[in-house]
Amino acid sequence: MPVPSPSSRQSRPFITLGVVLVAWLLVPAVVKRFLRAALFEAQAPAAVTASRVRDLQEYWALRTRPANELIAAGKDTARALAGYELGVERLGLLEAENARLHALLSLPPPPGFRQEHARVVERDFSAWWQQLVIRKGADYGITVGAPVVFAGGVVGRVREVRATTSVVALLSDPSVSLAVVVVGPGDTRPDPRPVKYSGGDNPAFGPARGTLEFAPADITVTPGALPRLLTSGLGGVFPAGLPVGEVTRMEPSPDGLFQTGEVRLNPALATLEEVTVLVPEAPTALPAAP
């Protein structure tokens, strides 16, 4: 049997790599998509398991707390719950009034949402992606493009749905855009003109920021009294009135027609444990994926 020369032995890995690359290029796109999805689905149980282990760790950490502390926390929770129950009652009345006014004006009802609460499995804050992976996916009827919120306001939009997990593009991701309205300091009502908010180019470990585009030239920013941004409700994706962030800086565009601004987002976005996906009740009204 002929012995291969040293040069042919050295070049064998490169040849193999080339063959594999050529083979991969020749593989049909359908197969590639299937392999990619299969890879993610195969990874998902590991991530979910890791998050459940973390939950377990937290559970046992809580078990170590003194009983008195837990009792006090329980009392606080009960008080908060009572307040929330009152709020829910008032909300119900307002919803009924809102529906009555809509009927009076023959307006179409605002889009309805089903709420799906989900635990955060992974966070990915890099220069490329600003996203979360949550522990619910197609198994809970979550849809691509669905808005995601938390107690502090908007989180982002669902970018990708898998069998048991979903990827959520955060507000700080450059692919996320919202139509927002500006509430001046001291104002109770927002300026009705919609303004474009987009995620910015965020550093991997820096505070999350976004940008404001096509803002009217008459909006001003005073240090210590920053205008707030709320969802406008006009875009057809997010309900109105959800906090988005604060405008920290505005600069007039060279043509003088608009301003561009810098938006400071809620720092809690970086440490989220639980989010709520607002799944549209009308599946035909699904918006585009970010």
Binding site: P192, P194, F214, G236, P254, D255, G256, L257
Partner: protein, 668 residues
């Protein structure tokens, strides 16, 4: 076999010392190599710049984006003409190369099945593919916005072949709600982009439309000093001032264009990012001397009689700044943005609303009795009048001049023996016929020229007419080959006959008179530190000037304008403000009338001067200056006094007899 030849084992013949016969080829080979090297050097070293320029011209494109126009402000900084964003959705055709190719392949494949008709050519297939791709994006838009729009397939092909690098407009005039839907529902990397451009915005609508002027599309291929002027350039359409201030100050208002230079593929598709770019910048602002409040008051008052055309001009007496320049009928500048419809254009033409009657040829009229002020000044300076003595024959309704009977058209005649002040207040024609004849036509004309009434005022607006006319005997001989008669002088003395003036010129005249000077240079530009104008004095003695002003004040208190200015029952009645004015009603060709009123106020310390002209278009209708024109001036003054907290107005006077009011500064 040669001695030097060595037979190799495998049958290859070699020669140790070479073959001398081959030497002949070496110089040839060397020459060829040298030629090749020289060619390379020639092309790569000496012609590198040329090839670089060719590569640049072939592989790079420049896109020019016009800058927004500067704003036009009133004297208080309020925006009369600004810019507003106009949102549209555009499609970046130059990024769709792969999609067009894929669609082309799909369409071509479909046509492979045998058909009866011949298959489309390759160019037709390309058009079909482009249309299909763009139609898909339009469908996506229509789904998001819930409204349909027309698709111009021919326009798409034209845009593709001529302006590939410019965004292709799919939908325009988006509402805020539509804009919001697109922001949230269009993917970030979509070739569909929300595009914003500035269009002219007029917060006050039709206010000062003639003065501001309109803008139109600028299709000119103007030279620019931006980088890349040697490249194939695509220009987004800019705007250009068509008339009014927009045209006169077009260079100042014009924005600074921005540019982007892109590298393109051999097929012409853009390769991002741009190699070089600079954003456009807004043009300079123009602060005018107009006062939006006064302008609005003037235009509202002019529209009280919507069938009557007219104009009003108000000047700051001290500086000559134009506070009001109104002309009716007018038009709404918002109808011009983004473009004027044919129906609106036809309507404006039908109403004859294009003309700026304050300055244009359409606004030249005989000034009527307002010209008597000029006649009085000429007569006083030439000793033809003594303010303390009645002049010639008393007014019994007519006077014989040059063998012709000239009637007194004001007050139904019978003014009797009057002094200058009363003659002005009551506008006695008989008095001024005689004053004119005594002064002579040449002296009146010379005086009018001294007041610059024979030439344009030189305001910063295009279209100011040169047709104002101050006649004299020489002019009549030259142009009409006729002698000048005394009757011509009589007519001229009361502002009739050949005399023609614009409202702007009459406003300048009355402002000059208010300062006791002969000329006011009007300006539409406001300066906070504008110096006071000073020109040649009128040359009247204090007594003569006082008599003149007493007559003008009498005009508004007991004379021809008293009913409309000094009547407390009127809405615009201004208690305490002394107004020095003069009415006029002139006959104009076509059996029409022009009603005039000129004035300044306060009479004792003039600050604002006004000229109003209302054109009566009903044959035979008597349109009196006091009845129609004076109320317009009154409305302007009513608005003006609101911003004059320190105005020292004397107590109202309401003389019951012909004795004229005594002003604090006047001695008579």
């Amino acid at each position: 076999m040669s001695r030097s030849a060595i037979r190799a084992p495998q049958g290859v013949e070699t020669r140790a010392n070479g073959n001398h016969r081959l030497w002949a080829f070496y110089p040839l080979l060397a020459a060829l190599l040298l030629t090749l090297a020289g060619g390379f050097a020639w092309q790569q070293l000496l012609r590198a710049d040329l090839h670089g320029a060719r590569e640049r011209a072939q592989g790079q494109r420049r896109v020019l984006v016009p800058g927004p126009r500067g704003r036009i402000l009133d004297r208080a900084g309020r925006v009369l003409a600004g810019n507003r964003p106009r949102f549209a959705v555009t499609l970046a055709l130059d990024t769709l190369g792969p999609e067009f190719r894929a669609e082309f392949a799909a369409v071509k494949k479909n046509y492979h099945t045998p058909r009866e008709s011949p298959p489309p050519t390759s160019a037709q297939l390309e058009q079909i593919a482009r249309t299909a791709v763009v139609r898909r994006y339009l469908d996506q838009l229509e789904t998001i916005l819930g409204r349909a729009t027309e698709f111009d397939a021919a326009g798409l092909q034209r845009h593709f072949s001529q302006q590939l690098l410019l965004p292709y407009l799919l939908m325009e005039d988006l509402t805020p709600a539509e804009y919001a839907r697109l922001v949230e529902q269009l993917p970030a990397n979509s070739p569909l982009q929300v595009f914003s451009a500035g269009v002219r915005d007029y917060p006050y609508g039709r206010l000062a439309a003639h003065a501001l002027g309109s803008v139109g599309t600028d299709d000119s291929e103007a030279d620019d000093d931006l980088p890349g002027d040697d490249l194939t350039t695509y220009r987004l359409r800019g705007t250009k001032g068509r008339d009014g201030l927009e045209k006169f100050f077009d260079d100042r208002l014009q924005g600074e264009a921005g540019f982007s230079i892109f590298r393109v593929s051999p097929a012409g598709y853009r390769l991002n990012p741009p190699l070089e770019s600079r954003p456009p910048a807004r043009g300079g602002d123009l602060m005018t001397s107009l006062d939006a409040d006064l302008q609005l008051a003037a235009e509202t008052a002019l529209r009280i009689n919507p069938d009557l055309a007219g104009a009003a001009v108000a000047l700051d007496v001290r500086t000559g700044e134009v506070l009001v320049l109104a002309s009716e009928p007018g038009y709404d500048l918002r109808d011009f943005s983004p473009r004027l419809s044919n129906a609106t254009r036809d309507d404006i033409e039908a109403r004859k609303a294009w003309a700026n009657r304050a300055i244009s040829a359409s606004g030249t009229y005989s000034p009527g009795s307002t010209f008597k002020l000029l006649t009085a000044i000429a007569a006083l300076r030439h000793g033809a009048l003594d303010p303390d003595e009645p002049l010639g024959d008393p007014c019994d309704g007519s006077v014989l001049i040059g063998g012709k009977l000239f009637k007194c058209y004001n007050g139904k005649g019978h003014h009797g023996a009057v002094h200058l002040d009363e003659a002005i207040a009551k506008s006695c024609d008989v008095y001024f016929y005689q004053a004119g004849v005594k002064t002579t036509a040449d002296n009146i004309a010379a005086e009018a020229r001294r007041f610059h009434l024979d030439r344009p005022a030189g305001i910063e607006l295009p279209g100011e007419t040169h047709r104002m006319l101050i006649p004299d005997p020489a002019w009549k001989k030259r142009t009409q080959h006729e002698d000048w008669f005394q009757g011509d002088t009589a007519n001229m003395a009361i502002g009739q006959g050949y005399v023609l003036e614009t409202p702007l010129n009459m406003a300048c005249f009355i402002a000059s008179l208010a300062r006791d000077e002969v000329w006011t240079q009007p300006t539409l530009l406001h300066r906070a530190d504008a110096p006071a104008q000073h020109t040649e004095r009128t040359g009247l003695t204090p007594a003569q000037r006082d008599a003149l002003l007493a007559g003008m004040v009498g005009c508004t208190t007991v004379g021809t304008a008293a009913g409309t200015l000094n009547n407390p029952s009127l809405t615009n009645y201004i208690p305490g403000l002394s107004i020095a004015g003069k009415t006029g009603t002139a006959q104009i060709p076509g059996n029409k009338n022009a009603a005039w009123f000129v004035c300044f106020a306060p009479a004792e310390n003039p600050q604002i001067a006004i000229a109003v002209m209302i054109e009566g278009d009903t044959a035979g209708e008597e349109v009196g200056g006091g009845r129609y024109a004076a109320p317009v001036a009154q409305a302007i003054l009513k608005e003006w006094v609101k911003n004059q907290p320190k105005l020292n107005t004397p107590a109202p006077v309401s003389p019951s007899t012909l004795s004229l009011p005594a002003l604090p500064s006047l001695t008579r």
